[in-house]
C-alpha cells in the first residue's frame, strides 16, 4: 500500500533509480519508488498488460521467475512492442515524443526501465572523458569504488567468445589493434565486453558435446541464446534472481526490496513535483503527484527528499512541466552517442577459413560481447540480433536515402543507405553469414541539443517532450572515423561486402540533459530546488566518452544515495 508520506521518493525504476533506492533503504530510510510502466515478474501483477493488478510491491517474495518466463517470451516483435515506453495496457500505443528526422528514441517503461532492453554491456567511462574533457566537476577516481560495488552486484565479467566474437577479434588483430585487458581504458584497442550477464555454464563449450536442456537447474548462467534486447529471461526455469542478465530489476530491485524499507508502485506516472518556499527564496521539495495509468486517478505523496530517475528525456520534461525554477541548462546538452551501423557479409569459404564454419549464426551467443575502444572518439561493438531488429537497425533508416540512390567510389563500404525491396531480400537471405558492428561515437554536449516542452502539444501527462539533436562537425568526424575503422576490421576479417547505414540520429543511449555542474551539484542535488536530487543518466556531465553508460549512471546513483543520507538524514 502507498502511504501518505515517505523519507524519500524515487521517480522511475529504470537503470539507475533502483540503485539510489537500495542505498537509501540500506541506510534505514523509507522509500517509495514510483514507476510509470508495469512490474514484470511480480505476483501482484500476473497479467501486467491486461489488468491493473495489485497496487504496490514491498517484498522480494513477490518476485517470480516463472512469471518472468511467461511474460518475456523472447519473441522480438512482441517484446519490443511490450517494453517500449508506453502504458502497461496493451491496447494503448506508445507515449509519443517528437524527435527530429527519421531517427528515434528507444526507451522502455517498466521496473528495470531501459535496462530491460539493454544488452548488459557494463564498461566504465573512459578516464579521460571525465578528467580531461572539461565537463565534470568530479574526478574519475571518485567513481572507482562505486564502479567496483556495481560490478560486483551485477556479476560483471569478460563476455564469452562465440563465432561472431572470434571473427571480430581476428579482424581487429589483423587490422593492427591490440588487446586491452584493463577496466580503466586510455588507449585504443579491442577487448571482450565487460558484461553484466552471468557467464555461461562451461558445459556449453562447443567441444563438450552437451545435449541436455538449456533450462535451470540443468544449466545455470547465460545460455547463449541472444535475446537481451527482447528482455532475456534465460535460463528459463530459474528463480527471478538467478536470471543471467543483470538488468536493474534483477540486480538492484531484489536487494532494495529485501531491506524491508522500499515500496515499488508501478503504473504510476509522476506529473508534478510539489515544492514549498517558506523563506521566500530557494524552493524546497515537499513531495510529488502521480497519475495511475490504468484508472487515471491522481494522488499526492509527501517526502523529505525527491530523487528524479525518470531517464534523460522524462526527468527534464517533468522539471519543465512542474514549473520548477528556470535554469538555462535544464533539458540541455543532450548526448546520444550519435551512432551508425556497418554490416559485413561473407562468402562461405572465407568464413570457413577464419572461424572453421561457413556460417556465423549471429543468433548464437550474447547479443553484444566484443568491443573496440577508442578514447576521444568512441567505441565499436559487434551486434547479433534476430532478423527483425537487425532489419530495422541495420537497413531500415538512413540519412543518405536509399542505397540505390548512392554511389560509393573510393569509400571503404560497397553500399550506403537505406535498403528495401529486392536488395534487402537478397542481403537478408545471408542473415546467417552477416555480422553487424554498431558505431557509438563520443558526441559532446551542445546547448542547442535537448528536451523542451510546448504548451498545447500534450498528452494525459502534460506537454510531451520535444527533442532536438543536431551533431556538430566534430561529432560527425568522430563517427566517420569509427565507421572507417569498423569497415577495415570487417574487411580484415574477410568480409566480401560491407554496407554502411549512415543512420539518422537514433538514441539508444540518452544522457546529459540535467548535467552535474550545470543543473545539479556534485552530490546531484539541484542548485535551484533544495532536497531535489537527480539519479539517472541525465546527470552525466557528458557522454562518458562513448562507452556504454549504465555502469557510470549506476555508480553515480549509488554515490548520490550516500550523499543524500549524509546531507539530509
Amino acid at each position: 500500500m502507498v502511504e501518505d508520506s515517505y523519507d524519500a521518493i524515487v521517480v522511475g525504476a529504470g537503470g539507475d533509480g533502483p540503485v539510489a533506492a537500495w542505498k537509501l533503504a540500506e541506510a534505514g530510510l523509507s522509500v517509495l519508488v514510483l514507476e510509470a510502466g508495469p512490474f514484470y515478474g511480480n505476483e501482484q501483477w500476473p497479467r501486467p498488460n491486461e489488468d491493473p493488478g495489485g497496487e504496490a510491491s514491498s517484498s522480494a517474495e513477490d518476485l517470480s521467475g516463472d512469471l518472468l518466463d511467461e511474460q518475456f517470451t523472447t519473441r522480438e516483435f512482441e517484446m519490443i512492442t511490450k517494453l517500449v515506453f508506453g502504458p502497461a495496457d496493451h491496447e494503448r500505443g506508445f507515449w509519443f515524443r517528437k524527435f527530429p528526422g527519421d531517427g528515434a528514441i528507444l526507451q522502455c517503461a517498466g521496473v528495470g526501465g531501459t535496462t530491460l532492453h539493454y544488452t548488459g554491456c557494463h564498461p566504465r567511462a573512459y578516464p579521460a572523458a571525465i578528467d580531461e574533457q572539461g565537463h565534470w566537476p568530479i574526478e574519475y577516481a571518485d567513481l572507482i569504488p562505486y564502479y567496483q560495488e556495481v560490478e560486483e552486484m551485477c556479476d560483471v565479467a569478460p563476455a564469452p567468445v562465440t563465432a561472431k566474437e572470434e571473427l571480430f577479434f581476428r579482424g581487429a588483430a589483423d587490422a593492427g589493434w591490440e588487446l586491452i585487458e584493463d577496466l580503466n581504458v586510455t588507449e585504443p584497442g579491442y577487448r571482450p565486453q565487460p558484461n553484466a550477464i552471468t557467464q555461461p555454464d562451461e558445459r556449453l563449450h562447443v567441444d563438450a558435446g552437451y545435449d541436455g536442456d538449456f533450462t535451470y537447474p540443468d544449466v545455470e548462467g547465460d545460455t547463449l541464446a541472444l535475446g537481451n534486447i527482447a528482455g532475456n529471461p534465460h535460463p528459463r526455469g530459474a528463480p527471478y534472481e538467478e536470471k543471467a542478465k543483470k538488468a536493474s530489476n534483477v540486480s538492484f530491485v531484489p536487494p532494495a526490496l529485501r531491506t524491508g524499507n522500499v515500496t515499488i508502485r508501478p503504473n504510476a506516472f509522476v506529473t508534478d513535483v510539489v515544492t514549498v518556499t517558506p523563506r521566500g527564496d530557494t524552493p524546497t521539495v515537499a513531495g510529488v503527484q502521480f497519475r495511475d495509468t490504468w484508472s487515471g486517478s491522481v494522488q499526492q505523496v509527501d517526502s523529505e527528499v525527491v530523487v528524479l530517475a525518470a531517464g534523460a528525456i522524462e526527468t527534464p520534461r517533468l522539471w519543465l512541466n512542474a514549473d520548477l525554477p528556470a535554469n538555462e541548462w535544464v533539458g540541455r546538452g543532450l548526448t546520444i552517442h550519435f551512432g551508425d551501423n556497418v554490416m559485413g557479409l561473407w562468402d562461405p569459404d572465407d568464413l570457413d577459413e577464419a572461424i572453421g564454419s561457413d556460417v556465423i549464426d549471429q543468433h548464437e551467443g550474447q547479443d553484444i560481447a566484443a568491443r573496440f575502444d577508442y578514447p576521444g572518439v568512441g567505441m565499436l561493438q559487434t551486434v547479433g540480433t534476430a532478423p527483425g531488429i537487425g532489419a530495422i537497425l541495420g537497413f531500415g533508416a538512413s540519412a543518405s536515402g536509399f542505397a540505390f540512390q548512392n554511389d560509393t567510389p573510393g569509400e571503404p563500404w560497397d553500399t550506403i543507405g537505406r535498403l528495401a525491396g529486392t536488395e534487402l531480400k537478397r542481403l537478408l537471405s545471408d542473415y546467417r553469414r552477416m555480422l553487424q558492428i554498431l558505431v557509438v561515437s563520443d558526441d559532446r554536449p551542445h546547448q542547442r541539443n535537448g528536451v523542451t516542452v510546448a504548451p498545447g502539444v500534450a498528452d494525459e501527462h502534460g506537454p510531451i517532450p520535444i527533442v532536438n539533436y543536431e551533431p556538430s562537425e566534430g561529432d560527425r568526424q568522430r563517427r566517420d572515423e569509427l565507421a572507417r575503422i569498423a569497415a577495415d576490421i570487417l574487411r580484415e576479417a574477410g568480409a566480401s561486402h560491407v554496407h554502411r547505414s549512415d543512420s539518422p540520429p537514433t538514441a539508444l543511449h540518452v544522457h546529459s540533459t540535467m548535467r552535474m555542474g550545470k543543473v545539479v551539484d556534485e552530490a546531484c542535488e539541484a542548485y535551484d530546488v533544495d532536497r531535489l536530487f537527480v539519479a539517472d543518466h541525465s546527470v552525466l556531465a557528458n557522454g562518458v566518452g562513448g562507452a556504454n553508460p549504465t555502469n557510470t549512471g549506476q555508480a553515480l546513483a549509488a554515490r548520490t544515495g550516500e550523499r543524500i543520507v549524509e546531507r539530509h538524514f
Partner: protein, 298 residues
Amino acid sequence: MVTNRIDDWLSVMWQSLTSTGGLLLELVGVGPDVDPHTKVTFRAIGDAVMPETPGLAGELGPEHVSGGLAVDLDAFTVTYVDDGFQLGLPHLGPQGNIPIADPIAHLLDSAALTLVERGDNERDPDVDRALSLLGPDDPSPRAVEDVVGPFAKLSRRDRLRAIAIVDEFDVEFTPTDDDLFELDAGLVGQLVIGFMEMIYYSEWQGYDEFTQPPSRRSHPNDRSAVQSWRQTGFPGFADGYAALRGYVGTTDSPLGGGDTWATVDEAADVRIVRESGGFRENDYETSDYREPFPVESG
C-alpha cells in the same frame, strides 16, 4: 525543407477520427473497413518495401519469391500504425491512440506529386499498376479505381523515391481546436520502411492473432510458420546454444587461461582459451590525452 500544411490531410484526419471511434470494433471485424484509398496505398507500400521477387528464384531458391503482400503485411501495418501511438486524449478514440494510417497515405500522395513535379520519377504513373496489387479479398478494381492516389500509381522504385521525399516535409495538424499536433514527417519513413521491415522479418506472421491480449497469443516458433524465417534461415527462438568457444586471453593476461582453443593473433599471443579470468584494475594516466578531432564549445 518543404513545409507542407496539408488541408486535405486535416480533413482526412477528421474523418478518420470520427470513423475510428470504433477501432476496436474494426479489429474484431465489425464496423467500417479500412478506407479504400488507405488500403490501396498500403498495398503499394508493402509491394515496394517487401516485393514479390520471381527473379530471386533462380539465384537463391523458390522460397525467396513471396513478398509482403502474400502475408498481408500491408493490412497489419495499417493496424499497427493506427494503434501504435497515443496521446491519451479521450476525444482521439477509445484508447487515446492516434490513427495515422490515413494521413500517412495522403502524405505519400503529396510526396508522389512532388516527385513527378520535379521530374524525378523514372517511369510514368499508371493506375493499372496499383490495381494489379489488389488481393482476392479486396474490392474489385473498378470499385477502387477512382480512389487510387498518385503514390500507388508509381513504379516500385519511384514509390521508394517518394518516401525519401517525405523526409523533407514538416507536417502539422490540429485534431481539435486546442491540440496542435506536429509530426516530423521523418516518422512516416520510419514507419513504412523501418517498421514494415522489422515486422516482416520478425516472428509476426506466425501468430494466430497478434491483436489478442499477450497472454492469449500463441506462436508455433517454427521456421515453416514464418515466411521471412524461411528466407533468412533464422531457426526460431531457442532456450540456448552450446556455442561457447571460450574466453580471450594471452599467456600473461588476467583475462583468461587454460587450454587454447584457437589462436587469434600469433605475434601478440592472443588466443581463445578455455577458462575466464577477469579484467585488470589498472593504474591509469590521462595527462597526455589529446583530442583527435575538433571540439566545439557549448
